[in-house]
Subunit: 210 residues, 2 copies
């Protein structure tokens, strides 16, 4: 654990903070598709992502879903931070997109560290900023792009997160993430295939052009 901590956070946090994190944090491994945070959960701490990728999804009262963004190694979940420190509920769902490793930091220390460590303050503020910017990008996508562009962007983003040029997924799964219907996804994927941007297989989409 210390090794991975050093390798992704060694240049972010000062030594004393790394020591505290090692002492107080709990390491956890997540299987693919494992649920990390569910809607309405009260967080007892915040996760630092050491390895893997986490999908963050928003769900409204009618159970309708939409993908917000992905977390990568080095990231933390700003929404959990919010929930942990204020004892409030979390408005999102977090699912491991692939096998991942996290360190769970207990909420009791979050505020102490803000006082003690400048690097922690920077990290927290940066995390919030990154997340605000991701949200804005999501809003741009929803407000300004048509479904075909959104789909292509979705495929590229997801491939990038997975560090693959092929995605193992179904049209239905994409439809859930994008909050549209499977038929629409199939139609637009076929269109992208005709434009030679992707190649379609069963349970797999190959991205030809980034």
């Amino acid at each position: 654990m210390r090794e991975k901590l050093e390798s992704y956070f060694g240049f972010v946090f000062e030594k004393e903070l790394l020591d505290e994190i090692e002492l107080l944090g709990t390491y956890k491994k997540l299987r693919e598709n494992e649920l990390l945070v569910d809607l309405g959960d009260k967080m007892k701490g915040v996760p630092l992502l050491l390895e893997g990728a986490i999908k963050i999804v928003r769900e409204d009262k009618n159970g309708e879903e939409i993908l917000l963004y992905f977390l990568e190694r080095g990231d933390t979940c700003a929404s959990s931070f919010a929930s942990a420190i204020s004892n409030g509920k979390c408005g999102i769902r977090a699912i491991a997109e692939k096998e991942s490793e996290i360190i769970f930091l207990p909420k009791e220390k979050l505020d102490d560290w803000l006082v003690k460590y400048k690097t922690w303050r920077n990290f927290v503020i940066d995390s919030y900023n990154i997340r605000l910017n991701e949200m804005m990008e999501t809003i741009d996508t929803l407000a300004f792009m048509r479904m075909d562009e959104r789909l292509y962007k979705y495929l590229r983003d997801r491939a990038q997160i997975m560090r693959e040029t092929s995605l193992n997924t179904t049209h239905q799964e994409i439809a859930y993430d994008m909050h549209t219907s499977r038929v629409v996804v199939s139609r637009l994927l076929k269109q992208l295939e005709n434009e030679k941007k992707v190649k379609l297989h069963r349970n797999r989409i190959e991205i030809l052009e980034f």
Copy 2:
């Protein structure tokens, strides 16, 4: 200034912090429609909103706009905070929706205060959380609602911010905020009028049902 500061922030900040804010902050009055922050600005500080309402708008590279949310008294602009503390650029535009009063806090003190004042830490974290939640609400609106519902929500939200039951605005202005066309807005407004939810006048929309 001290009076207004006390009345909106007296229960939020401790006395020493209020003293510092009074000493180091600069008071500013904004006319209606005055531009407070523009896209790409580097912020020299963050505004605390004492009075009035500020409209926060997102613009993409093609100059297309969409309303993100409103700030009310007691709020601050999380996006400016981000920009100020990291010396980065601001990704939004902020315009006074009505005559407003703000205190501008110099960016040099933002980090110091995080160490010195627990109330400041809480305020900053709360502000980020509120903003993240607003962004999620905006995303919900874009992803899950049809244009007619979005329009009705827009009217109610804006009226609430203005503390009025009538809005002085044009169909074109609404279209800009919602990133649609004037014709669509006129059509849907007429529909809302038929449903007795609003009453239309020239340059004014009366909201009959909240």
